[in-house]
Symmetry: C2
Subunit: 190 residues, 2 copies
């Protein structure tokens, strides 16, 4: 998605060779006009599938999922993050390891909001190691529902998440895939 | 806003006399069609003011703010919650006491995303004791910017937040104000 790549080039800030900060339009301040184009592009790429819900994880996935949901005309469910150890019989839970924060956290979704008939599109802002998407997929499968695809705004192509998910048979559509970041120069896969 | 009140009546779950759960359409699962009506109604109520940004706080405010921002044609900034004690010279911070969780937490906004020219509309899902809005207002004022108003989806009229904010001169528009919840019956202010 050229508009997005251009924004990443002009407004993203690479920190070293692995971190890209997009706080000015995606993660802290949110450009809702750009997000609408992102939502339209997800719909264009997934026009061939029928979905019943979009699933994401708090916090930065929520805005993207809500704007995209307007184009799919489905509700959004966002998994809640918690470090609590309590098991709750009323929620599906999965554990996600964050390399950035170097700790595990749990994500939870109430059993009321995913059911066996659901056909789920997972949406998230970043794909790096793939652990968050795998946790969401785990929750969808606990509910007996189907993951129809995964829409990612920015994939770090130099980390293994994309390969892990695709080789697990998950359809992943990433709107911008960063191949490398060296000396502040961001190179995308074509 | 009748559509919202009706949804609260039919899909909200009161727990005792002070807690109302709206997980099925606002806080965990999100009905984006309803959120669009909420966004339009905020625009209708605040049609007389010019704003440059919408400010909210993660996580459940984000979806509401993003959908509403489409009607105002401005970016969203969401304050991040953290329990960290670190001071960061690059962020405005404020401390908020949560009665629900019985603890203090910090909210932060990067100094890059609020500036002295900004005219801010604060949006949040709930207004109870008003501490979150006061924390956001504090951050806006640290930046030398102006709070033009506060848009709330559900105000708990039986708690003091609405009165605190209004008597501090803040314009508050709440789309549904709950007067009382007794024996599972939710009564709204007219």
């Amino acid at each position: 998605m050229e508009l997005l790549k251009e924004r990443i080039r002009t407004h993203g800030k690479s920190v070293g060779e692995e971190i890209i900060k997009v706080d000015s339009f995606l993660n802290h301040q949110i450009d809702v006009v750009l997000l609408n184009e992102v939502g339209k592009e997800f719909k264009r790429r997934f026009h061939d599938i029928q979905i019943t819900k979009i699933l994401t994880v708090e916090a930065s996935g929520i805005g993207i999922a809500c704007i995209a949901a307007q184009y799919f005309q489905v509700p959004v469910v966002f998994a809640k993050k918690t470090e609590s150890r309590n098991l709750d019989a009323e929620t599906y839970e999965s554990e996600v390891y964050s390399f950035t924060k170097e700790k595990k956290y749990k994500i939870r979704v109430s059993k009321k909001y995913i059911s066996v008939e659901d056909r789920i599109l997972i949406i998230d802002d970043f794909l790096a190691n793939g652990k968050a998407v795998l946790g969401l997929k785990d929750i969808v499968e606990q509910a007996g529902a189907a993951v129809m695809g995964t829409g990612i705004v920015i994939e770090k192509g130099f980390q293994q998440g994309g390969q892990v998910l695709r080789s697990a048979g998950i359809r992943v559509e990433s709107l911008a895939i960063i191949k490398s970041m060296k000396n502040g120069f961001i190179e995308f896969e074509s």
